[in-house]
């Protein structure tokens, strides 16, 4: 709760300074604000405070995922000046929208009530719609915003309908109360209730871009400004999966066995379609969109088998995904800035002229592909072990095959930067600051690979 208040104040202050045209103040202000928010957020650790008639619950789970969301904010703003280099405008509107989206995400990780859940979801989504179109004079950005808005509001409609049905049958928006209602039914849950629950899940599947509700993501992620794409893939996924997990484990835990088949089918489809579609992409940004779809499939696996450790594993997976994706996008933005393209040949000879960037990119891609001993590998490994222990060996087999396919496309930029034979591209000038940032992130990815239990045992 403190985090939300702090972030709101931060966003308002940011808009104030922006409108006064004090451009130089904005980024430092946001950094300080985000760090204070992070501290405030973590200071509630272990207390499990409930606010407003169980509307908002700050337990360890929500604090952990909120921290990841705030971390995403810090990382995104870290690279904001790379992306908006040369823009004279203070850009406070975009920054404010990013901050509001994070607030929405935090609400989605902490709700105890379906209404608040919906409010958080919409705060996040509407910020995203606008952010996707924030490059006003770019037709692709406009297309992305329009498509996102149309499909998104369509899915939101179903979600809201689902919430309404669930409320209509159970008589409460409170997650615990819904669970009590299900238990009270003694196995005879009305069909309408199940339909409502399924509709909620369909809405959530849309938000995390699971097949067959993923169609928006490649177009939206390709069209949006790159920095915003990096933000949407990470923050959207983290907040949605946290909300999804909360819904399943608190409200619908008693019906979990009914859901596993549907979830499994969606997870399998997501992994296969996501990875296969990414194979043919030479446009890295689009490839990231598809690989993001595939990663959602892995995330869903954690919801299928609920063990004592699945929350921790989910957190670790999300954290490693966030760090790797943002690092890769940072390098990608730099290259796009210089070469004007997202295609693989832009990476040619990167290792020779920009060893730090090439190294960070390689580490990020290998972590996403799940090459030991990086963080991504440990995340997948723990997830797969969890799934296998739950008796879904064949699902693990599918996931492993998916990971193997993913190596093909994740390695494309690495191969281009280290082993390409063609004429290498010229050197890209980048600040020392940038180099240090991506190096620190790379080291973090390596370190996390050695210390997965530290994160997993948090929850």
């Amino acid at each position: 709760m403190k985090a939300i208040i702090a972030l709101s104040i931060l966003a308002v202050l940011n808009m104030f300074f922006g409108v006064r045209k004090m451009k130089k103040v904005l980024l430092p202000l946001i950094f300080i604000g985000l760090i204070i928010t992070m501290i405030l957020n973590i200071s509630d650790w272990g207390k499990s405070v409930h606010y407003f008639n169980e509307m908002f619950i700050a337990d360890n789970f929500s604090i952990a995922f909120s921290s990841v969301l705030i971390l995403i904010g810090i990382l995104i703003f870290m690279f904001a000046n790379i992306y908006y280099k040369g823009v004279e405008r203070p850009l406070e509107d975009i920054y404010a929208l990013i901050l509001f989206a994070i607030i929405g995400g935090i609400v989605m990780a902490s709700f105890g009530n379906l209404i608040l859940f919906f409010v958080g979801l919409e705060t996040l989504s509407i910020s995203f719609y606008v952010l996707a179109g924030s490059k006003k004079f770019d037709i692709a950005s406009n297309e992305a915003a329009m498509k996102y808005f149309l499909t998104g509001s369509f899915a939101t409609g179903f979600l809201l309908f689902g919430i309404a049905l669930v409320y209509g049958v159970s008589g409460s928006f409170n997650l615990e109360a819904i669970n009590t209602y299900i238990l009270g039914c003694n196995g005879n849950v009305p069909m309408i209730f199940i339909a409502g629950m399924l509709l909620i899940f369909i809405g959530m599947s849309f938000k995390i871009a699971a097949v067959p509700f993923h169609f928006w993501s490649p177009d939206v992620y390709t069209g949006s400004p790159t920095l915003i794409t990096a933000f949407m893939t990470t923050a959207g996924k983290v907040a949605s999966i946290a909300a999804f997990y909360r819904l399943i484990t608190i409200a619908f835990i008693s019906l979990h066995s009914e859901l596993t088949t549907t979830l499994t089918v969606i997870a399998v489809l997501t992994i296969i379609v996501g990875n296969l579609s990414a194979v043919y992409q030479d446009n890295l940004k689009r490839m990231f969109a598809y690989s993001g779809v595939a990663q959602s499939g892995y995330l869903l696996m954690a919801l299928i088998v609920l063990g004592p450790k699945s929350a921790g594993i989910l957190l670790f997976f999300v954290l490693s995904y966030v760090i790797a994706t943002i690092t890769a996008f940072a390098v990608l933005m730099l290259i796009r800035e210089e070469r004007g393209t997202f295609f693989i040949p832009a990476f040619r000879g990167l290792a020779k002229n920009n060893p730090v960037e090439a190294f960070a990119m390689a580490i990020a891609m290998m972590s996403l592909a799940g090459i030991p001993p990086l963080a991504g590998f440990m995340a997948k490994y723990n997830l797969f072990v969890l799934t296998a222990e739950g008796g879904y060996t064949w699902l693990v087999v599918v996931a492993v095959i998916g990971s193997m396919i993913s190596i093909y496309f994740y390695f494309k930029p690495i191969l281009a930067s280290y082993f390409s034979e063609g004429e290498p591209q010229h050197k890209i000038e980048s600040s020392v600051n940038f180099k240090i940032n991506i190096l620190v992130l790379s080291i973090l990815m390596i370190l996390l690979g050695f210390l997965p239990q530290v994160i997993i045992n948090l929850l």
């Binding site: 498509k147 296969l276 210390l451």
Partner: protein, 633 residues
């Protein structure tokens, strides 16, 4: 104070990273100095630990973080500091530091100076992991890591194809042993459900002697040791490993890495005593290796090869000690051997350095007066390895011989024979190289010169250690208190007591056991003197050799034997596999699978039409499917 044990491996790792990532930038000897400091700091820390242990500090397991936890198996990343690892720490960092300093002088002219030091620091890091690991998995990581560094350093001058082949040979031979080690790890997990030393050893006390599974585990562990410590049948890589720079031979292929096998067996002594069959095997293989390598060394002409075979032979003796239950003896010999063999290698390096890369001893001679410092150091080393009192080798060899005596006269006689060979080939080497006249006229452009201070000082320190190193284990008979026995007693006393055969050796026979070999060794040295100094018969050309002589000169044809019975059939088989199965079946299958994936990827993207209407249509169909399938089942 042991909480800070993680600092010890951290420094070499930092050194490696810093040098490796800056190796184009570091100028002059910076990298060498940095690398040496990064080994010196852990050495100082180790000294503190060691004295702490001497004063009775308890052994301690320091858990850094929980690393792997899977079902019931949990493997923490933790270090164990006890008397055994404390001793090894001191050897690794101490000798390692001296050799680093030496290398600064030795490698000065080399283009790969920085690369060399980064590898050396990496090696020290892995060796420290190996020594400090508190479970078999960390030991295994160190084990593999030092193997990797050994490979990198043998093939250090990678432009020479022969050196590369030597590196590959070392790597592959080690791999064979490692397979055994790995299988042993799996069996340990199966048997004990853990890889932690402490847990395994406490659980093993409940297991009766001679159980099949323990015998298998120990045999497989020993197979790993055979590979790493170059015993029969996997010893041929070590002589070839001399392709690397001489400091590498001194550090890795004499003082530390090759002794890892001995360390591992000593560390697992509580398991090995439960398997008499394995102990028997170790003794047999140890003595066979000692004799075989010793006899090969008798007629070699390459100065480093002689030392390499000598190393193999000395390792054989250590395994004899292990096999007969004299674990302290093995560790003692390991320690003293680290001193004097490092000294000998470094001195040999100094000779090679002085002669600008000449390694054939027949082309040397008369160096006594031209490089006096090296000469005296070499003499000290030779006396120490031959077992002349009061040099270090005498005491440790004596302890091994007594251990062998406990296991039977035959073993003792054979061990003495191995010791005699040692004395002979070492003094042959000494006499040929330093006495007589210069075999080849000195090149005026490249005069023979003494090595720089950075090389002679580390050697001198090692020489001092070779002289006094033995005093930590002076037996009671000679008025000593046998401190190493006392020091290592907490680790070995129970297993050594477990194996005690019959009565103690009486005092008079112990004197006999000490003096007989000593007299014989002196005789052998005299023999060598009469051959190579008095009569000075050194064949410059390839002589006609008797069958036996040829057999020894050709190293028992072991390489050729392996070539015929292993390499050729395997090569034939691999050609078959490659040409037929690989290319025609597997490759085609793999390629087709890859093509299929790309094909699907190419076509699946047509689902992404870009038309929002189509997206919504797909979504609605899916929603209807999900609802219908779930609600009407």
């Amino acid at each position: 104070m042991f909480e800070y044990i993680w600092l010890v491996p951290l420094f070499p790792l930092i050194g490696f990273l810093v040098i490796f990532f800056n190796f184009r930038r570091l100028k002059g000897v910076t990298a060498g100095v940095l690398a040496s400091i990064m080994v010196f700091i852990p050495f100082v820390i180790s000294l503190f630990f060691f004295f702490g242990l001497m004063n009775g500090a308890e052994a301690k397991t320091v858990e850094l973080f929980s690393w792997i936890s899977f079902n019931k198996l949990s493997i923490p990343f933790s270090f164990l500091i006890d008397r055994l690892s404390g001793l090894m720490l001191l050897i690794v960092t101490g000798v390692g530091f001296l050799i680093h300093v030496y290398s600064i002088g030795y490698m000065k002219e080399d283009a790969g100076f920085n690369r060399f030091f980064s590898y050396m620091n990496l090696f020290v890091f892995f060796m420290l992991l190996l020594v400090l690991g508190s479970n078999y998995l960390i030991l295994f990581i160190g084990w593999e890591g030092v193997g990797l560094c050994s490979y990198l350093l043998i093939g250090f001058w990678f432009k020479n194809q022969e050196f590369n082949n030597a590196a590959k040979k070392a790597f592959i031979m080690n791999r064979i042993g490692d397979l055994g080690f790995l299988l042993a790890l799996f069996m340990l997990i199966h048997q004990f459900g853990t890889l932690n030393f402490a847990e395994i050893f406490s659980k093993s006390s409940a297991i009766p002697v001679g159980t099949f599974s323990i015998t298998m585990i120990t045999l497989l562990l020993f197979a790993g040791a055979v590979g790493k410590s170059a015993q029969i049948p996997l010893f041929t890589w070590l002589p070839d490993a001399m392709a690397g720079p001489t400091p590498v031979s001194a550090l890795i292929h004499a003082a530390t890495m090759v002794t890892a096998g001995v360390y591992m067996v000593a560390r697992s002594n509580l398991l090995f005593v439960l398997a008499p069959v394995t102990l028997m095997t170790i003794s047999v293989i140890g003595i066979a290796t000692a004799l075989m390598a010793g006899s090969i060394a008798l007629f070699q002409n390459d100065i480093k090869k002689i030392l390499a075979y000598s190393t193999v032979s000395q390792l054989g003796l250590m395994f004899v000690a292990l096999g007969s239950g004299a674990f302290t003896g093995a560790m003692f010999h390991l320690t003293t051997h680290a001193f004097f063999k490092a000294l000998l290698f470094l001195a040999a390096g100094s000779v090679i350095h002085a002669l600008h890369g000449e390694q054939d001893i027949r082309k040397m001679g008369g160096l006594k007066d031209r490089i006096p410092v090296t000469f005296w150091l070499f003499i000290i080393g030779s006396l120490a390895i031959s077992g002349i009192p009061p040099f270090a080798g005498f005491f440790s060899k004596d302890m091994i011989l007594i251990g062998a005596f406990h296991s039977g006269y035959v073993l003792w006689v054979l061990s003495v024979a191995a010791a005699l060979m040692t004395a002979f080939y070492m003094f042959r080497l000494l006499f040929i190289v330093f006495w007589g006249k210069a075999a080849v006229a000195a090149d005026p452009k490249h005069p023979v010169h003494e090595s720089p201070k950075s090389m002679t000082i580390p050697m001198s320190v090692l020489a001092v250690l070779s002289i006094i190193g033995g005093f930590i284990g002076v037996p009671a008979l000679l008025g000593g208190s046998d401190r190493i026995q006392v020091f290592l007693a907490p680790l070995f006393s129970s297993s050594e007591a477990f194996l005690k055969h019959g009565a103690e050796v009486s005092e008079s026979s112990e004197i006999l056991l000490m003096t007989i070999p000593l007299l014989l060794i002196l005789g052998v040295i005299f023999l060598a003197w009469s051959f190579y100094v008095k009569n000075r018969n050194i064949e410059q050309e390839e002589p006609e050799r008797s069958f036996l002589g040829n057999l020894l000169y050709r190293k028992f044809y072991v390489d050729e034997l392996y070539d015929t019975i292993v390499q050729k059939p395997v090569a034939g088989l691999s050609t078959f596999f490659h040409d037929t199965i690989e290319v025609k079946v597997i490759d085609r299958f793999v390629n087709q699978t890859g093509n299929l994936v790309v094909w699907i990827g190419k076509n699946i993207r047509y689902m992404q039409t870009g038309n929002v209407g189509a997206y919504l249509f797909f979504m609605v169909i899916s929603i209807i499917l999900i609802l219908v399938l779930n609600l009407f089942k």
